[in-house]
């Protein structure tokens, strides 16, 4: 009798545990299934399992590419899947299937994450480039675990590091002659300029005149964007929404909102989770900002849409790591102050956004335009991704490479000079000289 009761209890407990997990699967909180902390890039969405996993199928390559394919394409991925897909590589692929992101980038293994924020085998270059010293004698004494960690090469994005690019920019000074960032384009006007009295908020709503005054001073009013253009309700039957979300902004700022949703501030929303909040961050944040939630208006304000504030004060209102806290002692901040006060020319200041939400120039035929990239992931890690789009707007290539290879200098927000020199540009120049000599013979 006692045995039967014990068995019954055991079965009951198992059913209970099973039911618990099934129930948890249906809820937003899937913490119970988390095998280990996700990497820096994914930790925000680590509880949205289905963003990467398909039940009983693991992580399909498509899950990675859904978020990263565009970026890899833009980066001219040096090791795209096609590099390995030829049958001549089949033997090597049996050892390491380099066609799949997850072969190198394993998730939920916090102890294996490198300084680049992902897991990656130390000597991954060796398998194909073991004989590199034969072609580049300068590389003879170099270890294979330094290829991607010394500021010289990246596995995917080498747009600022390939040899001919190094050569082309080899004689640039530390600071360029005209260190200016591109001017942002003002969005196309929806209509004629509007003033305070033109607002179209519903008559039955009590409207704070201070908010109206803020709106009347914005680019929105200047370009004919009225209250009803933003306060659009998602429910077609409703005429007004008191708190419009990024969806309202997207109707005019599609690129910016896409970047926001792909970046660290909006990726939780894009994955169906609650908005990102400083309390969920891994970086040090201001204790007073912990309960804030991130949307477009948390940085841009709901009615002022002050881009000067959004480019700096909004960032420092939450971010409290050493790099952020050092910013106001940096030469970049001095330039920013000068620009904001009118002493410096437009584009000469360097705010947080200048580097982390950079202005990107686009061109199609005769049309040219500049947009702010709101996806910080695009140039954050490995940090050499920042060289072409950001640093080289104002600095020479060699100086940029050196600065980004100096973690202490980065933590001090670039107060001072790089403490080490990466020799890649020198090597490119030396090889070009040797090539010239060879051809003269």
């Amino acid at each position: 009798m006692r045995t039967r009761t014990s068995w019954g209890l055991l079965v009951f407990c198992n059913l209970l545990i099973g039911a618990f997990f099934i129930w948890r699967l249906q809820t937003d909180n899937q913490q119970a299934f988390l095998p280990g902390e996700a990497t820096h890039g994914h930790h925000q969405i680590e509880l949205a399992c289905e963003a990467c996993h398909i039940p009983f199928e693991g992580v399909p390559q498509k899950a990675c590419l859904d978020c990263h394919a565009e970026e890899l394409e833009m980066a001219n991925d040096s090791h795209a899947e096609s590099v390995f897909s030829d049958p001549r590589n089949l033997a090597e692929l049996e050892l390491l299937n380099a066609r799949l992101c997850v072969s190198c980038h394993v998730e939920h293994r916090p102890g294996m994450v490198t300084s680049m924020g992902v897991t990656v085998p130390d000597d991954h270059c060796f398998h194909c480039h073991f004989d590199i010293a034969e072609q580049r004698p300068t590389h003879t004494e170099m270890d294979f675990n330094t290829c991607a960690t010394a500021g010289c090469h990246n596995f995917h994005d080498n747009r600022a590091l390939y040899e001919d690019f190094l050569l082309e920019h080899s004689d640039e000074p530390g600071v360029l002659v005209t260190p200016l960032v591109s001017k942002r384009d003002e969005p196309e006007a929806l209509g004629p300029p509007l003033s305070f009295g033109d607002h179209d908020a519903p008559a039955d709503r009590e409207v704070d005149p201070a908010l109206l005054a803020e709106w009347a001073g914005t680019v929105h009013a200047r370009t004919g964007v009225n209250c009803s253009d933003c306060h659009v309700a998602e429910d077609p039957k409703a005429l007004w929404d008191d708190s419009p979300t990024h969806k309202a902004c997207k109707s005019c700022h599609e690129n910016e909102v896409s970047g926001f949703l792909g970046g660290k501030h909006g990726m939780r929303i894009a994955s169906g989770l609650s908005p990102m909040s400083p309390s969920l961050a891994r970086l040090s944040m201001d204790p007073e900002a912990m309960e804030r939630e991130l949307g477009c208006t948390s940085c841009h304000d709901a009615h002022k849409f002050d881009t000067t504030r959004a480019a700096l004060d909004s960032c420092l209102g939450c971010h409290a790591d050493n790099h952020s806290k050092s910013y106001k002692d940096s030469p970049h901040f001095k330039l920013w102050q000068e620009e904001v006060s009118g002493i410096g020319v437009p584009g000469s200041g360097v705010s947080c956004a200048t580097c982390h939400l950079p202005r990107e120039s686009h061109k199609k035929g005769d049309d040219k335009w500049v947009l702010v990239q709101h996806n910080q992931n695009k140039n954050l890690q490995p940090n050499e991704k920042m060289i072409r789009g950001v640093c080289m707007e104002c600095h020479g290539l060699s100086f940029s490479i050196d600065a980004l290879a100096d973690p202490v200098l980065i933590e001090r927000n670039f107060q001072g000079q790089p403490s080490r020199h990466v020799e890649s540009v020198d090597m490119a120049v030396q090889r070009a000289i040797e090539d010239l000599k060879r051809k003269k013979k």
Binding site: N76, A80, S82, S85, D86, P87, R88, N89, L90, A91, L93, E94, C128, D131, Q135, R159, Y162, D164, F165, R431, A432, D435, R438, K439
Partner: protein, 203 residues
């Protein structure tokens, strides 16, 4: 990818489809069902030869009529290894590889690559024994080389065809590139080989 690159890739793939169609239709003139009824058999070698005819034609047209004409004769636009950065034409070898990549994204019934005993990029040197034998054979005899090989447990029919310098642009670039192991290539002579592989087994 630029419009030019897309167009040429599309033309390349269009050529493959035509080649496949030709193989599919064969003398019976119908679909695959007709082939079975008429008993027409297409060997891997015939398929490889047909594919090479398309690849080599497209490659020659691009090299002569686009790169050589616009860069070396009319001096309208340059071709560059860094064609995106330099707002230039892709090099013929890059155009070839872009087409190969696009084809491999669409089908695994064949693959093709451009290799050489004297490659600028060392990753394009022969890697398998058949590649080595094939490239040596086509360099010596300027005739196709055919063999079977097993890679990663899978059997392939592998054909290697001579890839000749069809225009001055080919030799000018390869003879002057600092990573090129040779500087004495001559017009009309073999510089490498087009390698076409057709899997003969699923595993």
């Amino acid at each position: 990818m630029t419009i030019i690159a897309r167009t040429v890739c599309a033309l390349t793939l269009g050529g493959f489809f035509l080649a496949a169609l030709a193989i599919g239709c064969g003398s019976g003139g119908g679909g695959s069902g007709d082939n079975q009824e008429s008993g027409t058999i297409f060997t891997p070698r015939m398929m490889a030869d047909a594919l090479y005819a398309v690849i080599e034609s497209d490659r020659t047209v691009y090299t002569r009529e686009v790169v050589d004409r616009l860069q070396d004769e009319e001096k309208v636009i340059k071709a560059s290894e860094h064609w995106k950065d330099d707002k230039a034409l892709p090099l013929p070898a890059q155009m070839f590889r872009m087409g190969a990549k696009m084809a491999s994204d669409k089908t695994n019934v064949f693959s093709y690559s451009l290799l050489s005993l004297w490659p600028i990029n060392k990753q394009n040197a022969p890697k398998t024994e058949v590649e080595k034998q094939g490239l040596e054979a086509v360099a010596e005899r300027q005739k196709p080389f055919y063999a079977k090989e097993t890679l990663g447990g899978k059997t392939f029919f592998t054909a290697v065809y001579p890839d000749a310098a069809v225009a001055p642009a080919c030799i000018n670039c390869h003879n002057n590139h600092k990573d090129s192991p040779r500087s004495d290539f001559k017009l009309g002579k073999t510089m490498g080989g087009v390698v076409i592989r057709i899997p003969l087994s699923q595993r």
